[in-house]
Structure formats: C-alpha cells, structure tokens
Amino acid sequence: MQGIVTNIQRLCLHDGPGLRTTVFLKGCPLRCRWCHNPETQLIRPQPLVHTEKCLGCGACESACPQGCHRMEGVRFDSARCVFCLKCARVCPAGAIEICGETWEPGPLAEALVRDKPFFGESGGVTLSGGEPTMQADFVLALMDELRSRGVNAALETCGAFPKELLEDLLIRTDHFLWDVKDTDPKRHLQNTGYPLEPILENLRMACAAGADVCVRGIIINGVNAEREHARRLGALARDAGAKDVRLLRFHPYYSAKLVRIGRPGEAMGQEYMPSDETMADLEQAMRHEFSFRA
C-alpha cells in the first residue's frame, strides 16, 4: 500500500498538543477559495516551480508537451498540465520539484517518529493535507504504524469523509483538529464546493463517541468575519461536545504556492485578512457561546 505525501514538517507547535511532526497528504474533496495548501488538492504528483532557482535554460519549455512553461511572463501555467512531470526530470538546476512523494506506511512512520525524543508526553504526529482521509486505507495503516511505535496521532480534517470510515478513525486517532470552514450551509457549498451537513454529522458522531475534538474555524474578511458565524461555531462545537474550539485567521501568504503550482492570480489578498480587533471580537463571541451551558 502506498500513499502520496507533499511534505513532512517538523517542530510544529500549533498542529495539536505539544511539539509535533506534521505530514501533509495529497488529495482533498473541497476546493476552498482560500485554500492555504493548494498543492495538496490534487491526489496525484504535480510539478512545483521555484522560479528563483531557474537558470533560464529553457529545458522545461522544450520538454513540456502541453506548452505550460515559458521563459517570459507567466512562467508556469498548469491549466493544460497533464502531470507527465517531464519538466521536473529535465531541469538541471532543481528548480522544478515533484510535489507528491510516494511512501509505504512503515517507512513513512519511521520518518515521522524521528523527533520522538522531542515529543515528550503530549507531542506526536499530525496527519494533515489536503484531506488525509482521501487516502483512507493508507491513513489507517499509517496510524497503526505510529501506534506500534508508541507515538500518538492527531488528524487534521475538514470532516468530509464517508461516515462508514469514522469507526476506524476513532479507534486510531488521539486528537481530531476539525476544520469547519463555514457555518452557513449556502456559503459553505459556494466557497468550498462541498455541502456542510455531512461534515457536521460526522463531527457530532465523533464527539458522541467520546473523541478528543478541537473544532477550528477560519475567519476571512468579506466571507465569514461576522459575530453570527462566530456564535454559531461556538454553539455547534458546544452542542456536538467538542473539547475546544478555536478561530484561525486567514492569511494571504499562500500566494507564492499558487505561483509555484501554476495557478497565479487566484490568491485572495491582504484585504481578506481580519485585523487583531476583529479576531478578538469574534473570539469573545465564539467563546461566550461555546462556554454557555443551558
């Protein structure tokens, strides 16, 4: 069994309890307008162009059958890319990286637990993406491998997975970081291409089964940076029985990633990033609702 991984990131302090190593898996059923990891959306390996390393030799331009690469203007446009990866193979300067490495669960677990001496009692490994459950069998096998090495596993999920999978996840996952992109069903569908309700149903079932769940909601100016959304998020986390709920701030720093995967111009700008005051205000509204018990 093999999985496709975009990156392994060590020394992560905000991806679950303690110090963690996070593995980013490819593939996601959502297409969030603000996706911070757009290189993980596709489940297949794809070219990632680092223009700052380019020597301008034109080897990629010659090798690409689809004409995606140019030496002037927009250097890489992936609209017609067929993912043959010929460009990456011919680049002499290592400026085109293949994003998406194939791993077996055992060796991947071995790589992920290298920082075990730093994990202490609370730290461990976080599976992120993309949506890790897009590679469900691989994720379950990987979690088994981690457990056999005495390392706890956190799952960063958007909750968009078949409910039949939940039982298998519950017995293997120590912490869920459950990203609810929006609390307005219409907006959720519009901005992510995926309905909200199945996600919330999974969330409620997971909490009801006693899972350690932290609900997280991204706040984006002009999309959902409003008190009503914050209150609804607090309430749904409370009603589901989540252990905690947190707000995440949208930031525009992912625009460079879009350029690298050949989708320049899609980034949402600085104006979508909420201010400190907005975040504090929404945090208060959300926290008030979350801690309110009838």
């Binding site: 990131q9 060590r10 020394l11 992560c12 302090l13 905000h14 303690g18 110090l19 996070t22 390393k53 020597l55 030799c57 002499p92 300067a93 290592g94 290298r114 920082d115 001496p117 730093f118 994990f119 202490g120 609370s122 730290g123």
Partner: protein
C-alpha cells in the same frame, strides 16, 4: 518607567525602578564610555630596566592598585570596578609611554572564587607564608613573594574603596571581604564581585563559576534569620549583572564591545548526587528574564530529570533572546570527564573556562589550540592550491586520505603540546586563586595548577563531511565527472560551471538535515579526531581532551579556503562549531539537533556547542514555551553536549544593520558569549544573520 521587551513580548517587572534604570544606563554605555578617559597607566622603560619578570609583574600590579581610579556609582549595591579600559584588551593595563604592552593578561580559566568566599584571602596569605617556610628554590621563592604582592595590592585597592564609599551599608558589606570568609549573602556577592573585578582590573579574563552554589547557603541562612528578603536578594543579584556591563561602550569592536562576558554556571548535581539548583538559581534566572543582559552568559547544567521549574524557567529566559542562557547536558559531561580519569568528586564540580570549554574550576590551567580540519581536505587531499593531479580511484581512498591528513595534523599538535605549552611568565593574580600553585610553589604557567590542559579543537568537520558527500555523489555515484575535473572546477572557483554548482548546492543530504548518510560521515570524522586526540591522554604532565569549536574563526578561515565542493564559492562563511553550514540545513531545529548529536559526543571531553536560532514566532505564548522545553528535552535525550538557543527575528537584525542607532542594546548569542549586535563588525553580523532561523508554524 523603564521596562524591557523582546521579540517574544514584554519582559516581566520584578526589580525596582532604580535598578532597571541603572541597567538601562549601563547597557547604553554610560559607564563604559566614562572609562574611555582612564584607559591605562604608563611606565617608562627605565622603570623596568634590570628587573626580573616577577619584579616587573609586581610593579605593575602594585601600580594599578595604587593609581587606577576608584569608581563609586551612586546607588550601586556592590563596590569595586575594573576601571582601566585597556584591561578589556587582555593586557595588564600599564603600558610603556610609547603605548607598547608590557605584559599580557591571562584567560580561559574559571578561578576558585568559591574558595575565596569560604576561606577569605587572609587564609591564602597564611598558606603562602606557610609554604615559604618550607624548602624552596629561589625561583619558587620569587613566585611566592609575588603572590604576597598580589595580596598586598588587593589590600591597597580595598582600602581605597573603603575610603571612597560613603554609603554605610555598602561599607559594611565590603569591610570584611574578600579577606575574611563571607558571613552573609551580601558579603558573599560583594566578595565575589570585588575579587572578580580585581582580577579583571589586572588584565585577566577568568570565568566566574557556579555562583548559585557559592551563595545558596548564605542566602538561606540570611532568609531564615530575617536578614534578607527575596526581593532584596534579587536586587543585589541584578546589580552583580549590571556591574558586568560596566565596560559596554556600544563601539564597534569585531566580536562585540568590550565587556565582562564571562560565563556563569548554574545548577547541577553535587558529589552526593543532590541537585544544587535552589532559590538563588531561580532569582538569577528571574534577573536575566527581566533585564536584556547578555553579560554574563549563563550556562545551566541540566539532565532529563532536572526539576521541572528549572526547565521552565530556562525556557522563559531563552524565549526573550539575547542568547543569555545556554545549557550543558550534565550527565554526559560528567560521564565524559570521569571516563577521562577525572575523579567523580572533581567531575561533578565542572564549570567552564569562561566560554563553554569544560574544565574543573579553580584547579585548571587551560589552553586550547584552534585548528581548521576542513583546510586539510582542500589543501592536502584535493590539492586545490597547487597543481598536483588528484586521483583517488574510489571514495574509500579519498576518505582514507582525509584520515591520513588528520593523523599528520594531530601528530604535529601533540609534538607542539609537548614543547610549547609552558610560557614561563608571571601570573600571580591567577595563580593565587588556582589550587595547586601555592602548595607546589609553581606559577599558573609553570605547572602549578592541579590539572594542566592543552586541548586540541577542530573546526570545519561538518564542511569536510559536506564536501565529501558532494564529491561522492557526483564523482563516485552518479559519475558525472572525474575527481580531477571536479578539482579543476574548484580551482577556477566554479567559473563556467554554474549549473553544476547549483546542482551541488541543492543536494539534500548535507549535515544538519538529519540525513543518515551525512551524519554517519561527519560522525566518522569526529570519531577519528577524538581517537587521535585521545591517543595521548597525558604526556609531560599535560592533558589533551578534545573539543570541536570555531568560536567565530570560520570568518577568518574563509579567506584561506578555496571554492567548496558543496556548491559554494570561495569566501563563503561555513560552519561554526559542530553546526550545519549556513544555508545547507533545510530542515528544522529538531533535525539539526539530531544531526549534531549523531556523533558520540561523550568522548569529546572538552566539549562542543550547538547554536540554534529560533524565530520569535516559535517562542511566543505557552506553545512557544513548551516548544523550547521540547527542544531541550530532545537535546538531552539524544546525547548533546552544550546548546545555546537564541531567539532572533532576522528582519530585526537586517534593520539593525542598517539603522544601528535604533537597536543599541539588541544582544545576540555569538558562540560562548553574547554581544550587542550593533557593536559587531560586518563579518560577524553577517555570520549571525546567515545562521539559519528555524521553526515552523
């Protein structure tokens, strides 16, 4: 109100407003600049004509004690000062009229200040006089009499202070010490500062040692009898640190403006296996959490089972940057010393030489020899600087050539250690405070101390490993070119080979990325060096414990080295100590720690240092605190030796380089010491900026 902040946030406020203001003035060079007016004293050549070396030494020490200006700063709680600025230049601050130095100072040893606190200098005088009654050669007698001169000079200096001080409490605290044993916490601290600043005034650079062990019992006794409160003790300790800034001028001076930057060592096990960290340890850490003082740097002795409060407190200090706090893995250090045949009761007393090189304080004469191992590869193995044809049929042959070059180099070191160790010059100020000198009637440089150490220190081993990896990949594995073609490219400094240079630079497996291949190779080089150093344990009475360091010498070495097989042109600053080279470490701090610890450092008795630079975003809040503790925990578990974590925002460093006036007190960790960033020269600033910042969000 004076309040200090760092990139990680506001620093806590526990000290009085007066003390924080005193700190602010000191850090901004107010008192250091005052000393520019009293740089040195002068003698004419005829004053020293016909005198023996000891007579000259005695003359200089007495003159300083009599004539150096006495400085009493209103409001200060500790009396004493090293008021001749030339002392900061490692010379005895009495010069000939034409500006020529008469005698140099002494450094790289932590003196036995703890014994001064316990016994008082009068007892030392008694010991000297008793020894004089025994059989002595004329030379021994001259040395012992010189020690009495040093004690006389201390009395002169002390009496001048007693006359100058009007504050009754300050007079009371100074009255008995350092000549009598310290009877209270304040007397203890006063005794330590007076003795330390006296040795500094005389042009020496001694380390300070385990200050918390010296003071804890005195503090507890005072506290129990109601003579002192916790707040009062903290204020006194703060003054001790602020006095340590009395040479700060904020003038650019290579590796930082002149300062008292000698390490303090905190906590750790005693001979019975009890942890010594206590209230004084905590109060000291609270002082440096509040004040951005990198002088004195603090090295905390830690173990996986160190008290949780100590681990947390160290992390709290570290997250504010300034590089003030570093740590030893004391289990490993003690094991290493014992394995090097130091008795257990000596090994547990370890401190350092004022930087981080491990030694037994108050008993050691220490000298080290810095050597560039990487130049051996470039000069003797690859012949970059001559036209000799290079041909090693397989990688193992190339590696063996490296080992052979190291063999020759270390053989040379051992021969040199045999013949060049003794310097035969007077050093009574140091010798007085070193166990063994009085009893043997031998000076510091004449074999007096209990342990005489000449430590070979290699630098550039990670660069050697990286270059070998680059060559192995291109020549022996991928067979892109021959070794002689590769060497030709390096001789041309990569001219005409830019794509290949980039390719080599982009290789992923360099040291510092937790790559088994690089770590094993570097580990082999480290092991070979240790074996060579330890092949002679003691000869001619000289111990030779190995260490790995550069202490910033990678800056000077860059001009002697050629182009680098790992894709860098000549003139690049490469690795410091046993750290990855700038830019080659593409993983995080945990990967660097793993790489660093992959070699068996338990046999590296003199030690090595790992420098970790964290972005402030990794250090903020409770998560940041937990993260720093996790790094410490991992470092200890993986068998590291000594680690210094600095928290710096690179954008701030870049701004400080452009606008130094905005950042007068911004302190950074250099190697075994900290310095104000704006006082570093261009090369040193570049080295700090290029040190990789690590940590993910």
């Amino acid at each position: 109100m004076v309040q200090f902040r760092s990139a990680a946030g506001e620093r806590p406020v526990r000290l009085s407003e007066e003390t924080r203001l005193f700190a602010w003035e000191s850090l901004n060079g107010k008192y250091g600049r005052e000393l520019n007016a009293s740089d040195h004293l002068t003698l004419s050549r005829k004053d020293t004509q016909g005198l023996s070396a000891y007579q000259i030494y005695d003359l200089l020490i007495s003159k300083i004690a009599r004539e150096a200006p006495v400085r009493v700063i209103p409001g200060e709680m500790l009396a004493g000062s090293a008021t001749l600025k030339a002392a900061s230049r490692h010379i005895i601050p009495v010069l000939y009229e034409d500006g020529e130095m008469i005698m140099p100072g002494v450094s790289h040893t932590t003196l036995g200040f703890d014994r001064v606190l316990r016994e008082g200098i009068d007892r030392y005088e008694q010991r000297v006089r008793e020894r004089l009654k025994q059989e002595c050669t004329p030379k021994q007698r001259e040395f012992l009499l010189s020690l009495l001169h040093v004690i006389d000079a201390m009395h002169v200096w002390h009496s001048r202070y007693m006359e100058a001080i009007s504050d009754l409490e300050e007079r009371e605290a100074l009255k008995n010490v350092p000549f009598q044993p310290a009877r209270s916490f304040r007397e203890g601290l006063q005794s330590l500062w007076f003795t330390f600043s006296f040795t500094r005034l005389m042009g020496n650079w001694p380390g300070i040692g385990k200050i918390d062990r010296m003071l804890e019992k005195l503090y507890q006794a005072d506290k129990a009898s109601g003579r002192i409160t916790e707040d009062q003790a903290r204020e006194l300790l703060a003054h001790f640190f602020i006095k340590g800034c009395e040479w700060v001028t904020l003038d650019v001076c290579g590796s930082g403006d002149g300062q008292h930057y000698q390490n303090i060592v905190l906590s750790g096990l005693d001979a019975e296996g009890h942890e010594t960290a206590g209230d004084v340890t905590r109060l000291i850490l609270e002082v440096v959490e509040e004040l951005p003082i990198g002088d004195y740097p603090i090295a905390v002795r830690m173990r996986p089972d160190s008290p949780a409060w100590l681990m947390e407190m160290v992390a709290r200090v570290m997250r504010h940057g300034s590089g003030v706090c570093s740590l030893y893995n004391e289990n490993l250090v003690i094991k290493s010393l014992e394995e090097y045949h130091y008795p257990h009761e000596e090994a547990v007393e370890f401190a350092n030489d004022g930087c981080w090189e491990v030694q037994i304080p108050g008993k050691t004469r220490f000298r080290y020899k810095p050597m560039d191992a990487y130049i051996l590869l470039q000069r003797d193995v690859l012949h970059l600087f001559d036209k000799e044809k290079v041909d090693y049929p397989c990688f193992d042959d190339l590696l063996k050539a490296c080992f052979d070059a190291m063999d020759k180099d270390m053989e040379k070191f051992h021969r040199m250690a045999d013949s060049e160790y003794d310097q035969d010059r007077p050093a009574g100020v140091f010798a007085l405070l070193e166990d063994g000198c009085i009893e043997k009637a031998k000076d510091y440089f004449g074999g007096g101390p209990v342990y005489n150490v000449y430590s070979p220190h290699y630098g550039g081993l990670p660069d050697m490993a990286n270059a070998l990896i680059a060559i192995r990949t291109a020549v022996y594995e991928q067979k892109i070119l021959t070794l002689s073609e590769y060497v030709e490219i390096l001789r041309r400094d990569w001219e005409g080979a830019e794509p290949f240079r980039r390719r080599q630079e982009a290789l992923k497996g360099y040291f510092g990325n937790d790559s088994n291949e690089a770590d094993e190779l570097c580990g082999l080089l480290v092991k070979h060096f240790i074996d060579l150093a330890r092949s002679v344990h003691i000869r001619n009475g000289i111990l030779r414990p190995p260490g790995i360091s550069t202490f910033g010498r990678q800056i000077d070495w860059k001009d002697c080295r050629g182009a680098h097989a790992q894709g860098k042109k000549s003139g690049e600053i490469l690795s410091g100590n046993l750290n990855p080279a700038p830019g080659t470490d593409r993983e995080t701090a945990t990967a660097i720690i793993r790489s660093h610890c992959s070699a068996d450092l338990s046999r590296l008795t003199c030690g090595t240092a790992l420098d970790i630079k964290l972005d402030p975003s990794c250090a903020r809040g409770e998560e940041g605190l937990a993260g720093i503790q996790a790094l410490i925990r991992g470092f200890l578990a993986l068998g590291g030796f000594f680690m210094q974590i600095d928290v710096i925002d690179n954008s701030v460093l870049l701004d400080a380089r452009e606008h130094p006036e905005k950042y007068p007190t911004l302190a950074v960790r250099i190697s075994g010491w900290s310095a104000r960033f704006v006082t570093l020269d261009e090369n040193w600033q570049r080295m700090i900026i290029e040190r990789t910042a690590m940590g993910n969000l």
